[in-house]
């Protein structure tokens, strides 16, 4: 192709770009983000189901979560083990019932916690746009909304994250983290209360 033709094609593409219509996927994400924008606080129960090769059976744990805009999160399991963390911004504390120890940490210094907290925050805010840098997000279903998140760069742990929203798309119903090798962890949220006051000292 001659240089002039290339130039012509490039020009057409450049002119066409701004005219490109937003994809259905973008529209769904924008709608979810818009809905999430109204969430000031959220709290509820968490059911964690681990189907791991290392365990004989599926292990189910129970716990709670609490969120306050913009960046406060408490996530804890209370049965059968006690463990959890609370963050405000980039730093926080975590605890393990077995050792009885609570220790401070920063998201910057703990890449694993950064990933986990990022995913949980996105889930409770119902806003996945901040994760678009790290994941390719596709809409698997619009009713109910189901998102598939695949790591953009090969990830040693996560193969795919499946996020299922409640029917009214008001909050996330479950998040399934599928690992390489077939292991899967699913978090299901219930009794979710949005924009209810949270007691002081939650975080």
């Amino acid at each position: 192709m001659s240089r002039a033709r290339w130039a012509g094609v490039c020009l057409l593409l450049a002119m066409a770009a701004p005219l490109r219509a937003a994809s259905p996927q973008d529209e769904v994400l924008a709608r979810l983000a818009q809905g999430g924008a109204g969430i000031e606080t959220a709290q509820g129960r968490v059911r964690q189901e681990k189907r791991l090769e290392i365990f004989q059976d599926t292990v189910v744990s129970w716990g709670r979560f609490a969120y306050r805009r913009p960046d406060r999160l408490r996530w804890e399991l209370t049965d059968p083990v006690v463990t959890g963390f609370a963050i405000t911004g980039g730093s926080g504390r975590r605890w393990h019932g077995l050792t009885g120890k609570t220790e401070p940490f920063t998201l910057e210094s703990d890449p694993m916690m950064r990933v986990i907290a990022g995913q949980i925050l996105a889930s409770v805010r119902a806003d996945f746009t901040p994760l678009q840098k790290e994941y390719r997000i596709s809409v698997a279903s619009e009713t109910p909304v189901i998102l598939h998140l695949e790591p953009r760069v090969a990830n040693p742990f996560v193969e795919r994250v499946i996020v299922t929203f409640s029917k009214g798309a008001g909050h996330v119903e479950s998040v399934a983290v599928r690992e390489k090798g077939g292991d899967q962890t699913t978090f299901s949220f219930s009794d979710v209360e949005v924009n209810r006051p949270l007691p002081d000292g939650t975080f």
Binding site: Q48, S61, V81, H96, E108
Partner: protein, 791 residues
Amino acid sequence: MARSDSPVEPFLERIVSATHRRLAGRRALLSAVTLGLVLLAALVSLSATIREDLGGLLPDDRSEAGRNFALFSGTPLARRVLVSLTAAPGAADGALAAAADLLEAKLVPPLFAPPPPAGGPTELAALLPRALPAMAGPEDLARLGAFSSHVVRERLSAAYALLLSPEGLGAKAFLRADPLGIAGPILARSSPIGLTPGAGSSERRLRGPDGRSLLLMLDSPVPMTDFGQARAMEQLLQATAAALPAGIAMKTVSGHQYTLANSQTIRKDLTTILTLSSLAIFAIYVWFLRTRLAIFVFLVPMTVLVLATAGVSLMPGGVFAITLGFGGVLLGMADEYAMHVFFAVRQPGVDRAGAVGAAARPVVMGALATAAAFGVMAFSSLPGQRQLAIFCLIGIGASLLLSLIVLPHLVTPRGMTLPPLPRAPSLPARVVLPVWVALVVLGAAGATQVRFDDSMNSLNHVTPRLQIAEEEIRERWGDLRSRAIIFARGATFEQALERNEAVYRRLAGTLAPSELLSLAPVFPGAQTREARRRDWLAFWNGPDGARLLETLRVEGAALGFSAGAFAPFVEATSRPGPAPDPGTLRAAGFGGIVDALLLPGEGGVTLLTLAPDDGRAAAALAGPGALPGIAVVSPGSFGVSISDALHREFLRYLVVASLVILGVVALTFRGAREQLLALVPVFTGMLFMFGAMGAFGMKINLFNIIATVLIIGLCVDYGIFMVSHAAAEADPATSRAVLVSGLTTIAGFGVLALAKHPALQSLGLTVLLGFGAAVPAALFVIPALTRRSGR
């Protein structure tokens, strides 16, 4: 005019007089040939490769200092750049990490090394089945043998809880490979800072406990002494710092910055000094020579600069910028031959050819003495000093030829009536001699107190910015830059491993394992690896091992772990994989530390061990039964080895230069009295310089050696000139020449005392002291002693 019976005198006088007569009336031709030569030399100089690194000031011989510098310069640690980031109270969350990300994205090859390959828990887990059998020593196996079922249950419960926690995602592979937590204590004793698994770039980052600070450790392929690339690195660092998120402050420290700070200061100083000294010298010429023709005397050192630069440009390996800088200053002072000839030929009523011939003997012998003194530097262990010696030798030769052959025709136009010269200054012997004796005695007393500099501070110009950054980083992160480095070199990788392990074993007797950073605990020699592997298999095949495996199975099942939960670990107890190699360590996220401690090279491999730089490591390795292929380099003791090298070099200069000038003086004057008189300026200048240095606590450094050479080389000329014209008071030409050239030297070097760089300042002060005493000694003491002995 007093004459000696030197055999060289008639020959020289005849040759120089005859040459002058032959060239008389060919002023235009002489000027054209000289100009042509200068233009040619300028063209050659322009093609020179200028080396802006400081390699010229580092020893390249087999001395301890030379070896240490070469070894240290070859390590990645010498080229490491420390970047300290601090977040202000109002800075946004994540700004610190964003700043570190930005720096890592911008500070990339070719000026900075790429980040080590990323690794993580999965890679570390893959490494463990290979690493545990090679790392677990008898004490680890004994500890395992003592594990009760209660301990096993406790550890598995902790593993279970961890798997259910948010961090469980990353810990799973690690727990499968090491459910009993064997690796923890082994890794902990392997290193205090380096051997913690990192996810790629995080291995290069240290985080402050307050979450408001971060240290980024970046490596660079740029040699620490490369000025040109150090400048490019600094520009890139500054540009990146300007783009950091708001509220993030950045401070950096590296060896490159020291190189840059020193080179830039020396450059600025030399520019100022050359300008000021040229103006001062020109003013002295105008004042004392009082003719427009003095411009030709002024042009002699300038011409010589161009010729000497062309000379060293033809040498292989490039021209050190430092040679041109210092050579320029040194040769700028070497105007005394031109001065002597100028005053000799401009005396009213003299036969000019005869006057040039008469001036030839002291001028040539003086040049010979100066060349000999500078020539001693040609045997220096510093390449820069050797090149400087050659530069000065070419310059002295060129100055001699120009002064004797070209200059007399340019400063004495035919038919011109020359004004009479004013009388030289004179002081009575009864005043001069007691003062001189007192100065000599005081100088001798002070000289006994002078010491050699062993701190390198005299060579180092530290800018306030660098000093603040260095202090902040030391305060916040500890002394990361000062560590003794033990080099274990082997012809093969295996031999290097064995020697490195021998070093570790020897040091472990004196230092705590947490004080050492070494690959030896993870990566011992083949013999130890094989022995550990045997012990490992014997343990797991033995009763303790079998019991422990059974307990693991039973307790694991009771807690809900699957039958194959710990398959990687169980597999390693019966069929351990091969010991890890550098490749697997890099893949597991230890690339940074492996590359810092393993130096492949031509004809062998070197492994490094880092230890506190407090002398304990050197002492432990220096005991009886010295290990082969081992070298210890301690930044803290660099100063000591440099001081030793300086001491030796200085004494060699002093002895050889003294012998050489004694030889030249003996060749010039046959009488012992004249020989001693000729040495009065050198003797007085040196004694006064060292006496004052001792009295004021100034230490001898590298640059003072140059000052010593300069004083010996130039001041002996004054002695030769003055003694050659014993009745100097009746011979104003000689005393005028000595006075003016002495003043120009003092003015030229006196300006150095204004330098910002401590080394240049020290050089200026010492030369000022030496010449400040030598010139009056030549002008007043020699005539006074001559009058006294002649009475």
